[in-house]
């Protein structure tokens, strides 16, 4: 395929206008040593028909959610994506636009961002949301960095019940040693509150927890938030936005920064990306917030309009003094999230949340009743739960996959201490019939 509209004849005319005899002459600034003297060693071009067939063949070698019953979650969930969502994000005026630096011709993007921010504020209870981060993990890491800037302190306390990949991302981000990360182990699938209290000190910028946790359990946010604030630290809470139709918002527990993975809001699983990072905070801290934010204003004729604002925090203005190096974010995924939330509304979101939670509790009880799984934790959970398998996890998952089930995430792959634990996620798409069938298969193992 070719995407170049210039004709051979026009190319000759253009060269003549430039005053060059050949295209190669235009590359004469490249020193001889740096020139590539051979063709790129890459496959031949393909026609669209052949290309579509090739990609369909590659895609066909992946087991997709339509061909298997999946209980995989841990940050990426197979929720139903309403048709209207893809209809909107497929509009070329949205997906082929750049960052809205020229507001006069970017009101569509800017207003959609403002509406997205408004919805995230509604869900989380926070005053300000940015226009999105890359994913939950990077939003989490940036929250730690922001807390250090706000408090001018140099240590953060992180719960061991936070997604291990998020904790690992934070560790990478602070590799230069400017911020010390103290990890407090999880006990019974939740943060050990006493252990948090024991490591808090005058250097602590923030306590970072996740609720639901990586294990699906719910934290005692009130207690942890209180301890954090007593020490003068910020309270950072990672949340699951799909559950915020039924779960009390983090702001109700005094959260100062709320982050989350937003994929579940109208975005495909897409092998883990792109989703989007949610990032919300208190208005008083806005000048330390990373990322873009849209604001409402007026134009010269007094008409309502939207612009990117508080830009003096950002890298294109502040360079090395910026709050983050982030430039591109996940705007199109945020658009999808906004359309999703508009489509389901508060009632739909609550219904989806309730369905997930009710079905998760139904499945959990049934799996425990088989006698093959043991309850791992006593803490309340929402739509995801960890159970202990009595035998070899890999063998169990292999046999159930043969029966058409992706039987949860083997938590032993993240930490030896969690060997034997399997994490199950349930969405509104799982019918009772499918859940019953899965339980039967487990019983039959």
């Amino acid at each position: 395929m070719r995407f170049i509209p210039v004709t051979c004849e026009e190319r000759v005319e253009m060269l003549a206008r430039v005053g060059a005899r050949s295209v190669d002459e235009l590359f004469s600034d490249i020193p001889e040593d740096a020139r590539l003297a051979r063709p790129l060693n890459l496959p031949e071009p393909m026609t669209e028909i052949a290309l579509a067939a090739h990609l369909e063949s590659l895609a066909g070698r992946n087991l997709d959610g339509g061909r298997v019953v999946s209980f995989l979650g841990a940050g990426i969930y197979d929720h139903y994506v309403p048709a209207i969502v893809d209809a909107v994000v497929s509009k070329p005026a949205f997906f082929t636009a750049y960052t809205p630096y020229q507001p006069e011709v970017s009101q569509g993007t800017l207003q959609a961002v403002y509406e997205f921010q408004s919805m995230i504020c509604q869900l989380t209870g926070m005053e300000v949301s940015n226009a999105s981060m890359y994913d939950g993990a990077t939003a989490f890491a940036e929250a730690a960095l922001m807390a250090a800037r706000v408090t001018k302190r140099d240590k953060v306390v992180v719960s061991g019940a936070v997604h291990p990949e998020w904790r690992e991302t934070l560790a990478t981000y602070v590799e230069s040693g400017t911020l010390e990360v103290v990890e407090v182990p999880a006990t019974g699938g939740v943060t050990d509150t006493a252990a948090v209290a024991a490591v808090l000190d005058g250097r602590t910028a923030a306590v970072l927890v996740s609720s639901p946790t990586f294990y699906g359990t719910l934290e005692d946010l009130e207690a942890i938030g209180g301890i954090a604030h007593d020490a003068g630290a910020l309270f950072v809470v990672a949340t699951d936005p799909v559950l915020l139709g039924v779960l009390e918002p983090p702001a109700a527990y005094g959260a100062d920064i709320v982050v989350g993975e937003g994929q579940a809001l109208g975005n495909a699983a897409s092998y883990g990306g792109p989703g989007l990072g949610l990032f919300a905070c208190r208005k008083e801290h806005i000048r330390q917030m990373p990322g873009r934010v849209a604001g409402k204003t007026v134009d010269v004729d007094g008409r309502t309009g939207f612009v990117l604002t508080f830009s003096t925090r950002e890298q294109h203005i502040r360079r090395e003094k910026a709050t983050s190096n982030i430039c591109s974010n996940h705007a199109l995924n945020a658009l999808a999230a906004g359309v999703y939330l508009a489509a389901v509304g508060a009632e739909g979101l609550a219904g989806i949340g309730e369905a997930c939670i009710a079905k998760a509790h139904y499945l959990e009880a049934a799996l425990v009743a088989t006698g093959r799984f043991k309850r791992a934790f006593d803490a309340p959970f929402a739509r995801e739960f960890a159970l202990r398998w009595t035998g070899d996890v890999e063998e169990m998952q292999r046999r159930l996959l043969e029966r058409g089930f992706l039987a949860g995430v083997d938590l032993g792959r993240f930490a030896a201490a969690d060997d034997g634990l399997v994490l199950f996620a349930v969405t509104e798409r799982h019918t009772r019939e499918v859940l019953d069938r899965f339980v039967e298969e487990v019983s039959a193992l």
């Binding site: 020229q102 408004s118 990077t138 039924v246 092998y271």
Partner: protein, 503 residues
Amino acid sequence: MSTFSTAGGSTEVSMQEPLTGTLIFERGAAESRCVEAPPLDVPAISLDGVLGGRARTAPPALPHVTEVDIARHYEQLARANFGVDSGFYPLGSCTMKYNPKIDEHTCRLPGFARVHPYQPEETVQGALELMWGLQEALAEVAGLPAVTLQPAAGAHGELTALLTIRAFHTANGDARTKVLVPDSAHGTNPATVAMCGYQVVQIPSDDRGGVDLEALRSALDTDVAALMLTNPNTVGLFDENIMEITAAVHAVGALAYCDGANLNAIMGKSRPGDMGFDAMHINLHKTFATPHGGGGPGAGPVAVTEALAPYLPGPLVSREGEVFALVTPERSIGRVRSFVGNFGVLVRAYTYIRAVGGEGLREISEQAVLSANYLKALLEDTWPVAYDRTCMHEFVMSGGPLRKATGVRTLDVAKRLLDYGIHPPTVYFPLIVEEALMVEPTETESKATLDRFAAVLTRIADEARTDPDLLHGAPYTTPVRRLDEAAAVKNADLAWRPEDVEA
């Protein structure tokens, strides 16, 4: 029923609703619904009971709308937006090339879109093969053998690469403190340096638009961890001294990092690895035609030398025979994000590379460079270029002389271009050129489009001379005009809330 009355007895037929300004929250009615949750087919639960007293007490104020409300709302917003499909978008340094529609088809195939990152590897061999193929292709284009696809964007790639370089130095027991960045660099470069805990040392440009070699040599010492350099650089020039630059950097034990923002100029012509760079990031949403999405998502894979490969973040895709697997390098810096990367973007980039092939990539760079030089030739009599040399895929003009002569600023010119249905070039960047206009036509524009752009810019220069106020007041045809940015900060209205309506 409704009564229609009109002022002065005349019938007004054109009462168009503005495209924007009415929020989704203000549409629909309390009873409006679009997507409803499925009826519960398992026993009902007491939410507050199972959640341990954590059930939400007041619902979030989300919109109440029907599907048609949503369809119309976003269609109106889309009409107030400008994308590559709307018209010419010569935004310098952003490579706003056409985004092929086949890419949008392939990334939505269920086998790519509905796959979970924690599936067993044997159930995602097609996804892993695609990623492996993309790693290989990017390595070949970059001339650097090892590639990670994890970074989500260019700036994220910069961070990844700089942390990789830091880990390399640390492993060699060689703590270094400074990173050199030219004064023409993108803002992300110094911001990344700061995030990595290094000190930024700014290197001036010489009068030909390249790195000032003297200044570079005097700044280089054994405290320098790396030089971050965009090449072709941000004024659209290939640095003629690139071999001397990377050699000088290596001579003090530092590493050379290439910001790959401008890779679209040199594919198949020159490779950063062959220039002596040790690491680079590649913006798939620029060079490899994945859409910019109104600001993202992109992807910023990083390519490095064999020496740096052991430090790359995991997971990478490895191949053994016909089996593909996720692996983490031995001395990896660790993760820079969750899961494997922006896979949906990777599918699009892979599709594009297979569509055009290796020769196609070379042709793309050749046309991008020819189109930029052609446009420069058409414009340089009216609009002085910052550096009078053969450019690569973009060039920078200065609006300084026009401002002196007419009082018309580059901002006014940019706004006036909107009236002609053209997206303005990048303005006021790079910072080293007065009243800069940075033009990148890309290879996907026809000669007729380039000719028209040149004619429009020439006409705008005339307008500036004859009627400067016309430009000060521009634009006139857009849904809104010159927005009050100071008021946006002052009012800090960053979210709608129901209280505002009731108040």
